[in-house]
């Protein structure tokens, strides 16, 4: 069961004269949980943005399940099976928790605009289906008690969870998590680790996550890619990464030789 799900080859992007990311190669196989780490400004989020269509890469190719994703609009990338969360939470603040998930469930129902305006039977069955499905997701994340609460009124940790629930509702094969544990305390981080492991099994997902919390990354990732200054500097198991001199150098700086 080692199907190549995502193949990123020589990916790079240039903003004006600045090469933000270059020559990035990433291979994700079905069911893997992979970490992407690197110091601040290394280009991790930029890489995510290229994978999800927010930025169009200026070089290289992204192949997902045999399909090239270069230059597709973000919503098409999502529809083809890649869903994400954001580093700085981007929930739909004025919508309720349930509605947030329902937005991501958009393609689940098929009733059209006229069916909605005229309130045809397909509207009621479609909306009902979306509501039930969304509630099921909320339940997994323990958010069903908040379903009628506005998203902006949730505590921070819950907002992070809701973002993951929403990303899952878009029915992805590959889930990209951008610093899911940012701002969480150790207890919450631990719960999150368990949750990530659980959803991965439950939904048969492949997960790529950016994270600064090393205990989380080292604890759950099978392989880790390390970015620095827009280039991949290492790739391997957590143990290999921990001992890789280049990685230590990127994080701690060079040894002073006198």
């Amino acid at each position: 069961m080692t199907n190549l799900l995502l193949n990123v080859a020589h990916l790079g992007i240039q903003f004006g004269g600045l090469k933000a990311v270059q020559n990035v190669d990433i291979q994700l196989y079905d069911g893997e949980l992979i970490g992407l780490i690197g110091p601040n400004g290394a280009g991790k989020t930029t890489t995510f943005n290229m994978l999800t269509g927010v930025y169009a890469p200026t070089e290289g190719t992204i192949t997902f399940q045999g399909k090239t994703l270069n230059g597709l609009d973000p919503y098409k990338v999502t529809q083809s099976g890649i869903s994400r969360t954001f580093q700085n939470i981007r929930l739909f603040k004025e919508l309720t928790v349930l509605e947030n998930v329902e937005v991501a469930n958009h393609s689940l129902a098929t009733h059209g605009i006229f069916a909605s305006i005229l309130r045809l039977p397909s509207f009621f069955t479609g909306e009902k289906k979306m509501e039930q499905q969304s509630l099921a997701f909320l339940k997994i994340f323990g958010l069903d008690v908040y379903k009628d609460e506005l998203a902006k009124n949730l505590p921070y940790g819950m907002q992070r969870r809701l973002e993951i629930a929403r990303a899952l509702a878009a029915n992805p094969k590959l889930l990209l998590l951008d610093e899911p544990a940012a701002g969480m305390n150790p207890q919450e981080t631990h719960e999150l680790m368990e949750l990530i492991a659980f959803i991965r099994k439950e939904f048969n997902l492949t997960i790529l996550l950016i994270e600064h919390d090393m205990s989380l990354v080292m604890g759950i990732c099978e392989r880790i890619y390390v970015l620095d200054h827009g280039q991949l500097i290492a790739n391997g198991t957590p143990e290999e990464i921990r001992q890789n001199p280049k990685v230590i150098e990127a994080y701690l700086g060079e040894e002073v030789v006198d």
Binding site: T52, V54, D73, P74, Y75, T78, Q79, S83, R84, F86, R90, L91, F92, K93, E94, L95, E99, E102, V103, A104, N105, H106, S107, A109, H111, I113, S116, I117, L118, R119, F123, G126, E127, M130, R166, A167, A169, A170
Partner: protein, 312 residues
């Protein structure tokens, strides 16, 4: 089926309001001055609600709404005056042509955001007005005479349909997609929502009902001219939406009703009219910066049914 029950209750209330006013009009209890005001009120409510869909729900700051109204007003006048077709045909034609205008303007401009979109739509509305001004077929600057065919029945039911359609649209997966775009366009896109499509749809529906409002308006006034649809009219409509509370349908209805009454009464004092009108706006914005109702709906206050339905 609680929601559905609430819906029919609101429709019943609306029909009663309609019947009472209709009876008072035909028995002469409401004179022509006030029946004119009530019909203009319906027109303004339609304009406010249709712009509410674009600004309040989808979050696209468009300030060229009077342009679509002008398209509808002139189209309907052409249908009834030049082709002698029935008024109802004129209303539908007005809506459809305005919708086309909405698509024509929406597809290129909706790539813009915020201030840029506002300026582009304002510019397009002015283009429409100036085109009309230079077409002799519709009278150019001199305007066009239109026979009065609008009745309370037409005005009221056009308004009711507008509100129902837009309320129903909002409370569906399509409406949620639009609100998601307002809340965070990047996130909506990342969740698989085709943002361009939904922005254009909202724009087209809004333009359609603005066109219908234009048809009702032109057949009420006897006479239309391009200056009635300048950017001041666009701002009037914008004020209804902002004053009512961005994102609140009942708020924009309420604001349109209140401001129509205020400006009708102030018409007797033309010197002070704009001053008082502006003062009202400043006071509301000082004490209710989120608009009269904020993002709430009137129905939220009654808890009639679980989430409320339509409001009339």
């Amino acid at each position: 089926m609680k929601k559905s029950k609430a819906f029919w209750a609101y429709v019943a209330i609306a029909i009663i309001v309609y019947a009472v006013v209709q009876f008072s009009m035909s028995s002469g209890m409401i004179g022509s001055y006030y029946s004119n005001m009530l019909i203009i009120m319906c027109v303004n409510v339609m304009l406010a609600v249709s712009l509410h869909l674009i600004i309040g729900i989808t979050g696209q700051f468009s300030i060229g709404h009077a342009g679509f109204m002008a398209v509808g007003a002139y189209m309907s006048a052409i249908v009834t005056m030049k082709f002698d077709l029935p008024f109802i045909v004129a209303i539908v034609a007005a809506g459809c042509v305005a919708l086309l205008a909405g698509l024509l303007i929406g597809i290129p401009t909706l790539r813009l955001r915020g201030d840029y979109l506002a300026i582009a739509t304002l510019g397009f509305a002015e283009i429409i007005r100036i085109v009309i001004l230079n077409v002799d077929y519709v009278g150019g600057a001199a305007g066009m005479t239109v026979s009065r065919q609008t009745t309370w029945t037409y005005a009221f039911f056009a308004m009711l349909i507008t509100i129902i359609v837009i309320a129903n649209y909002t409370k569906s997966r399509h409406g949620r997609a639009c609100i998601a775009i307002r809340e965070d366009e990047i996130a909506a896109d990342a969740m698989g929502i085709n943002t361009t499509y939904y922005k254009v749809v909202a724009f087209a529906i809004g333009a359609f009902f603005a066109g219908v409002a234009g048809a009702i308006f032109s057949h009420q006034l006897f006479f239309i001219q391009p200056t009635s649809f300048g950017f001041l009219k666009s701002f009037d409509i914008l004020i209804y939406v902002v004053l009512g509370g961005l994102g609140s349908l009942s708020g924009s209805v309420l604001a349109a009703v209140l401001l129509t009454i205020v400006s009708t009464y102030l018409a007797e004092f033309p010197e002070t009219r704009m001053i008082i009108y502006s003062l009202v706006l400043i006071l509301v914005m000082l004490y209710r910066p989120t608009g009269l109702l904020g993002t709430k709906e009137i129905t939220d206050f009654f808890k009639f049914g679980k989430k409320g339905g339509k409001n009339v």
